[in-house]
């Protein structure tokens, strides 16, 4: 029905497709009445938050739904034919020869007991015996591994999946997917668990390979940025329904559905800060399939809902070059109604720099010694260690936020645990408001513990599932605050209101809470002790964007009210730059760059920061900007490269000096500088801004 670009039947057509999952004796419809057509050679994005049904739809197309799932309504056609009528034999010999999938988790999607080469060969010869050396199948498999950028295909082919890094595993799956030269490639969040620099190289690769072969792509993702970079056309799913379907350029320039608009307003854009722009989270949460509203599925959360919206489900109507399922899409397109969520009240902030230091960390070091074998002991081999954190210094000021950014293996979480005293530091000094802290938590005074608190990444693991919210929150008041039961209860109620929950939540257990609510409780618990400094370790990373926006706003608001200093750790530079006043970039346990947030985001940058910024997908389709990619893998923290630790991957590698000498601190302006051998003027002259001006290059003809 929709999106039938080009002539004739599209390659894939969803016609009024509903998918249901069995829950006990009932069936609940996770996907309802989806119409979608993917033309040959088109790159289609399928965007939605968790619970939107986007992966279900992809699995239904590939006929690999879990046993409890079933297409209960509608037809999925491939080249015009109803796939449900095809017997398994025909699916194998025709359908699976023409479609392929790259899943979200590369490691579990590879058979742990088979060598990588054999798994690639199996695509080329699904029924055959293991290929022999020098055979045609073996040769093709190796060529495929080379095509996805493996420097040494022979070695990769003879490795087992667990011996490869996450990025390499995903390359293997892409090699497998493309080995059969499919006409349709389904990518289900293929880069979600990868570092941003790895994600960038993988996306480059997909773009390149797909363009070469004219393959159609269904790209399933929660990330609007990634989709903007890659797709011609985007479909937005909400609570199992298709709410908007449009060419990328139109969707990003002017969304026609309030939910799409809400998604855009929830994402921190690189270069915006909470001082300049407030995120506008979508209130409420996605309805469960068992309790859908009678009319439009988005109506309860919609800022522009009218009476008719709750009467009947709107149809998918044409809007511009696309489709939207909204009664008011015409008014939105004409600019007669504002589909934005109301902005939270703006608050004036003091940007004064000379505020007292709350937390000072100097030359922090954390090594995990490796055990020596008996032979090594006898030979007096020097003891080796995992050098998770080598030399990290940072300062958190009262009422301000320091963002600590780095990819996996940078040591940022280890640094947090060392600062908290959970894993005692091996060296360096930690000072909290002028008071030196012992490395080991057990040797810190209760007062010091009270004043330095942490919010973990996974509130699931940080909250005891058997304890009510009230019991979890009461504990810090009683232990660290010395309050009696009744007083503590009163404070718990107030605290729950502060994190925008109701006091009734005190009697609930973690299992009864949504992900965002759990994170609110974790934040409340950290604030219960009225700490001066809070450490957030990837505290919003696992959340959907609309929930993440609300939590980011909450964190910002609490800081203004209470004046706490934050150490905010994240791999997401856009989120960090949004929240933080200062940013410190770390790589392999070393600081690369540090300074006020707006300075770190503009040239001159450290070459590593430059690569990180260049790798972040922007919400601007077709944006023109610097293209910097990192080669190779992050070195092992056991053998940290000498000189500058970044020299093995640095795109601006100078030569011997980077290998032999530790780089000097070059200060660009007050408080901002980089550790680099390249003079600042040279960096400044050759670096383009990572954040393009709004509007520049935005006009790209999508679809």
């Amino acid at each position: 029905m929709t999106g039938g670009q080009g002539m004739g039947a599209p390659l894939v057509a969803f016609e009024n497709v509903s998918v249901a999952y069995r829950q006990g004796r009932r069936w609940s419809r996770a996907v309802r009445g989806v119409d979608l057509g993917i033309g040959a050679g088109v790159t289609y994005g399928l965007v939605g938050e968790s619970g939107s049904g986007k992966s279900t739809l992809a699995q239904a197309l590939l006929r690999v739904l879990p046993p409890s799932g079933r297409v209960v309504e509608g037809t999925i056609r491939f080249r015009g034919e109803d796939l449900s009528l095809w017997p398994p034999q025909r699916l194998r010999s025709e359908f699976y020869r023409q479609v392929a999938m790259v899943p979200q988790d590369p490691l579990p999607s590879l058979n742990p007991a088979h060598r990588v080469g054999r798994q690639v060969e199996e695509v080329l010869d699904p029924g055959g015996l293991p290929a022999r050396a020098g055979s045609e199948v073996r040769r093709k498999a190796l060529a495929m591994l080379e095509a996805v950028g493996m420097a040494d295909p022979e070695r990769v082919a003879s490795a087992y999946p667990h011996q490869l890094s996450g990025g390499m595993q995903q390359r293997v799956l892409i090699a497998m997917a493309l080995a059969g030269e499919p006409s349709l490639l389904v990518l289900d969040e293929p880069t979600t668990n990868l570092d941003v620099t790895t994600e960038a190289t993988i996306l480059d690769l997909v773009r390149e390979l797909v363009a070469e072969r004219d393959t159609a792509v269904l790209y399933v993702s929660h990330s609007l940025g990634v989709v903007a970079e890659l797709c011609d056309r985007v479909a937005v799913l909400y609570a199992g329904e298709l709410v908007e379907d449009a060419p990328t350029a139109q969707l990003y320039r002017q969304p026609r559905h309030p939910y799409t608009q809400g998604l855009f307003d929830s994402v921190p854009r690189l270069g915006t800060t909470r001082r300049s722009v407030a995120l506008r989270p979508i209130p409420g949460r996605i309805p469960a399939p068992s309790s859908l509203p009678p009319g439009c599925v988005f109506e309860p959360r919609c800022p522009i809902a009218v009476g008719a919206c709750s009467q009947a489900r709107p149809a998918l109507e044409p809007s511009g070059d696309g489709w939207a399922r909204c009664l008011r899409s015409g008014e939105i397109a004409a600019g007669e109604v504002d589909p934005h969520q109301p902005a939270p009240p703006a608050r004036a902030t003091d940007a004064a720099r000379e505020v007292p230091v709350a937390l000072d960390v100097a030359n922090l070091r954390k090594r995990f010694p490796l055990r020596r074998s008996l032979v090594e002991l006898l030979r007096r081999t020097p003891q080796r260690a995992v050098r998770a954190v080598e030399d990290v210094s940072l300062t958190v000021r009262q009422g301000h936020t320091l963002g600590l950014v780095g990819e996996s293996g940078s040591g940022k979480s280890t640094a947090a645990r060392a600062i908290l005293g959970l894993d005692p530091a091996s060296g360096g000094a930690i000072t909290l408001a002028g008071m030196p802290l012992a490395p080991d938590l057990a040797r810190r005074a209760p007062e010091a513990i009270r004043r330095l608190q942490m919010v973990f990444q996974s509130s699931d693991e940080a909250l005891n599932p058997y304890r009510t919210v009230g019991a979890a929150l009461r504990r810090p008041f009683r232990r660290l605050g010395g309050l009696d039961h009744a007083h503590a209860d009163a404070r718990v109620a107030q605290l729950l209101r502060d994190v925008q929950l109701t006091p009734a939540y005190a009697s609930r257990r973690p299992a009864e809470l949504s992900g965002g609510e759990k994170q609110r409780v974790a934040i409340a618990r950290a604030f219960a002790a009225e700490p001066e400094v809070l450490v957030f370790d990837e505290s919003v990373s696992g959340l959907d964007v609309s929930v993440q926006a609300a939590i980011l706003n909450l964190i910002g608001q609490l800081q203004q009210e209470r004046g706490s200093g934050y150490l905010f750790i994240s791999h997401d530079l856009a989120v960090v730059s949004f929240l933080a006043d200062y940013v410190t970039v770390v790589y392999l346990g070393h600081v690369m760059e540090a300074g006020p947030a707006e300075r770190v985001l503009t040239p001159p940058y450290h070459p590593y920061t430059e690569a990180l910024l260049s790798a972040i997908p922007l919400l601007e389709p077709g944006a023109v900007r610097a293209h910097v990619r990192l080669e190779g893998e992050v070195p092992s923290p056991v053998d940290v490269p000498g000189g500058c630790p970044f020299h093995t991957r640095c795109p601006r590698f100078l030569g011997d000096i980077c290998v032999s000498q530790a780089p000097p601190w070059r200060e660009a302006d007050e408080g901002h500088g980089v550790y680099c051998h390249i003079p600042l003027e040279e960096l400044r002259a050759s670096q383009a801004p990572a954040i393009p001006f709004p509007g520049r290059g935005g006009d790209v003809d999508g679809g």
């Binding site: 590939l62 690999v64 879990p66 398994p88 194998r92 010999s93 699976y96 020869r97 479609v99 392929a100 999938m101 899943p103 988790d105 579990p108 999607s109 590879l110 058979n111 742990p112 007991a113 088979h114 798994q119 199996e122 695509v123 699904p126 029924g127 087992y160 667990h162 799956l173 497998m176 059969g180």
Partner: protein, 314 residues
Amino acid sequence: MARFLLRRLGFLLVTMLFTSLLIFLITQALPGDVARVLLGREASQQALAQLRAQLGLDRPLPLQYLHWLGDFLRGDWGTSFSTGQSVRALVLQRLGNSLQLAGITLAVAVPTAVTLGVVAALYEESWIDTLISLASLSVVGLPEFITGLVLIQLFSFTLGWLPASSSIAPGTSLFRALPYLVLPALTATLVLLAYVARLTRASMLVELRRPYVRTAVLKGVRWRRVVVAHVLRNALLPTITVVAISFGWLISGLIVVENVFNYPGLGRLLTFAIARRDVPLIQAVALVAVLGFALANLVADILYAAFNPRITLQ
């Protein structure tokens, strides 16, 4: 790998040394005076003292232990108090019988159990899965002496196909002994079957839900091949460990089964020795049994690593 083996063998040695000490101390603590047991109640004090000196029982305990251990390592396992035979010859002959029974049991039990487990998992929650689960659970609930007696009643007394007693004479060839082995092996199989089948079913279900299965299906691989080449390969890992360890149990732990069928294995030898306070015999059987267990564990680890590329032995 060689390093791993060396380390594990050293570990095994320490284990054996420790258990030998434990066995020695326990047998010392057994009630009753060995000399009195040997000579009878009417023996004179003089005769008792003489025998004690002859057996070395009057020496201090540590010395007795070292002597016993030294003799044992040299291959002199002593003479049975109750039969007067060489303990070593007796134990080794019974060990051979136990190995026969264990081998046959595993050869029957493992393929059957794995097949049942795989079928139950592939047809999860269907009638066939329910039937296999019900049958295996009801068998595992019955103690061996009941299943053994039922089998004897059925196959020996009612049908008359197989002998009721399996007391084979020493030196009987495997071929001649086979009819005597069927019923005890079957009884032991029933004990093992349910356990291994349910384990296989559980790990099959876990593996069948792993994303690599979907990857294989999407490659266009036939379902039968997906199951055999992809799923089974991984699902059998826990089974391998359990089977290898069961082997240790089959050698020395089949006390009830061997007694029901009067089968001359190690387990029955142990009960015989304990009943007669035959200290040298108890010590030897116990040590051999522990060694069997320890070796089975070692083999389990090696096999597990051999089939699991994620484990490297070092």
